[in-house]
């Protein structure tokens, strides 16, 4: 399929698909105030700058070989967890997409960092396709900020496809202007014995919806799905996840942590799906909410569907406040109560960031987290 055919197909999908409605499971508890979405007729690419750009290309400049590698990623790029309509429209802007094409055995010391500056008063798209060659090792960071202090709408699509034994780390940092709306569609497809981590860190926007899917269709593939969110005031984050195991000996580990302040609200809905032939699957799913005030709302809907034998799966969600005894311990060392609470909340979230096991990515994520924590007023 040519890029033009793809574009036409996505426009057609957009026209044909209905708007999301409350009766759909994926939008239960979700915020349907689509605001500007109904009136969006076209997307524009967010302003983009790249650090460490050797392997990143515009999809309009690809060789035939590269187009061949891109094709399966395009095929899998549609959103499946509730936002196919806006995602189709964003994908129709395919000529603005970037393709990271890492050759086999290539090991990058430095992360590829993509800075997106979303443009206020318009609908932005970011489209990123990543192909990890066999045994390659690298990391990619996507940073979302706003170009000025006015609201915007953004759809971010990141599709990662790895060949055998690749190690990929992906970190998306969302800190757009606080009245903005943003929807993410992240998908990873792990090759044989590959190890892919994808982490999303949300601090900005009025409303952010993230869909993260891991497809483990090859023996030995492993995926880590991670998320850190720090909503405050009236921010709402809606998180949808899917861990799909279609081959034996595949593993996935999901850890989502939310620290909620003021009147913030989060929705977590996740599904682990193990196909009949996917024996010896290990799949874990944990969502933990830390309620920093008594006016927050955290909804969790963990889910499991297992059709194979010899499977280790667990899912769970917890919502709790900080234990008084823990605060007491810090206070007993002279730390004032506000600082103590912040340290504990930070520690709670840092545990997710540490799972990236990459010093540079951890530093970037921690900086973004600290920036948000510094802004919070504590009651």
């Amino acid at each position: 399929m040519t890029l033009n055919d793809f574009k036409a197909q996505k426009l057609q999908e957009f026209d044909a698909l209905p708007l999301p409605s409350r009766s759909e499971e994926n939008w239960r508890f979700g915020n349907l105030k689509q605001g500007k979405h109904e009136t969006i007729e076209s997307f524009r690419a967010a302003d983009t700058s790249v650090t460490n750009a050797a392997f990143i290309h515009s999809v309009t400049d690809l060789s035939d070989d590269q187009l061949k590698r891109l094709a399966p990623l395009l095929e899998k790029s549609g959103a499946t967890l509730g936002s196919p309509k806006v995602t189709a429209l964003a994908l129709s802007n395919i000529e603005s997409a970037l393709f990271i094409d890492i050759p086999s055995n290539e090991i990058l010391e430095e992360p590829i960092i993509i800075d997106y500056s979303v443009i206020s008063a318009s609908a932005n798209n970011t489209l990123l396709f990543i192909h990890a060659g066999a045994c390659s090792q690298f990391s990619v960071v996507e940073k979302y900020t706003s170009n000025d202090n006015a609201p915007s709408t953004t759809v971010g699509v990141t599709i990662i496809h790895s060949e055998a034994s690749a190690t990929v780390k992906h970190l998306a940092i969302q800190s757009v202007q606080e009245e903005s709306r943003i929807t993410f569609h992240h998908r990873v497809d792990g090759g044989k014995d590959s190890n892919i981590s994808s982490c999303i860190l949300n601090t900005g926007a009025a409303w952010a919806r993230s869909e993260a899917s891991a497809y483990l269709n090859e023996n030995g593939a492993h995926a880590n799905l991670l998320s850190v969110s720090v909503p405050n005031e009236n921010q709402e984050y809606d998180q949808r996840t899917f861990q799909s195991h279609a081959s034996p000996h595949t593993t996935s580990d999901l850890l989502y942590k939310n620290s909620l302040y003021d009147k913030a609200k989060t929705v977590f809905s996740g599904l682990i799906f193990v196909e009949e032939k996917a024996h010896f699957t290990d799949a874990y799913q944990t969502c933990r909410n830390l309620l920093m005030s008594d006016t927050t709302e955290a909804n969790s809907m963990p889910g499991l569907e297992i059709n194979a034998d010899q499977v280790k799966c667990s899912h769970g969600s917890t919502s709790s406040t900080i234990e008084e005894e823990e605060i007491f311990y810090l206070k007993a060392r002279g730390i004032d109560p506000q600082t103590a609470k912040q340290m504990i909340a930070r520690g709670f979230l840092i545990e997710v960031i540490e799972k990236l096991s990459d010093e540079k990515l951890e530093t970037l994520a921690t900086e973004a987290l600290d920036q948000k924590l510094a802004q919070l007023r504590l009651g």
Partner: protein, 245 residues
Amino acid sequence: MSLVINNLHAKIADTEILKGVNLEIPTGEIHAIMGPNGSGKSTLSKIICGHEDYEVTAGTITMDGQDVLELDVDERSRAGLFLAFQYPMEVPGVSNANFLRAALQARLPKGEEIDAVKFYHTMYEKMDFLEMDRKFTGRAVNEGFSGGEKKRNEILQMMMLDPRYCLLDETDSGLDIDALKVVAKGVNSMRAENRGFLLITHYQRLLDYIKPDKVHVMADGQIVRSGGFELAETLEAEGYDFLKS
């Protein structure tokens, strides 16, 4: 200069646990409290450092003349009180180094920043002294530490924070003999004219390494006997039954 506990009564929920405790720990001295399980030793130490679960119904606590009961937990610590806990908390995601740093930072005037190089230098020095592996600086506070490692970590905190009055609640329990010697070394190194200690313990063994100036026995929420080191020896030999005679 001394830490003075005068006629202290305290309750939790509706149970009175301390029933008139009188105790004076002058600086330069080490006092030990022994006593049966449930007699109120940990309760006393937690009330001194300000635990909110207990209600003080009568009595006073003063530190060099300053009213301690008026101060919040964190203020008491900054004023120079330190309690090494019987069961130290785990603080996930907060590294030992960051924890100590925050505790020291809290003691500085507003706007003043801790000197990071000096901080690490001092911390490593104390860790070496306590024979603690440096990997503990990066690990989350007490998380996954063995019982003995937690106790040693409490002593590290004590050495870093340089308090005027140190309360140690069963720091010796669960320690192997080498760890006990290390803890004793830490305490002895801090022994000073301007510092007082209160050791809560069940065993004379600790007192063989840290010679106390006075030994007190607590029973049913009161100090019922006070004496010298020989009191600990009597307890070791006869158990608490001798209190009844």
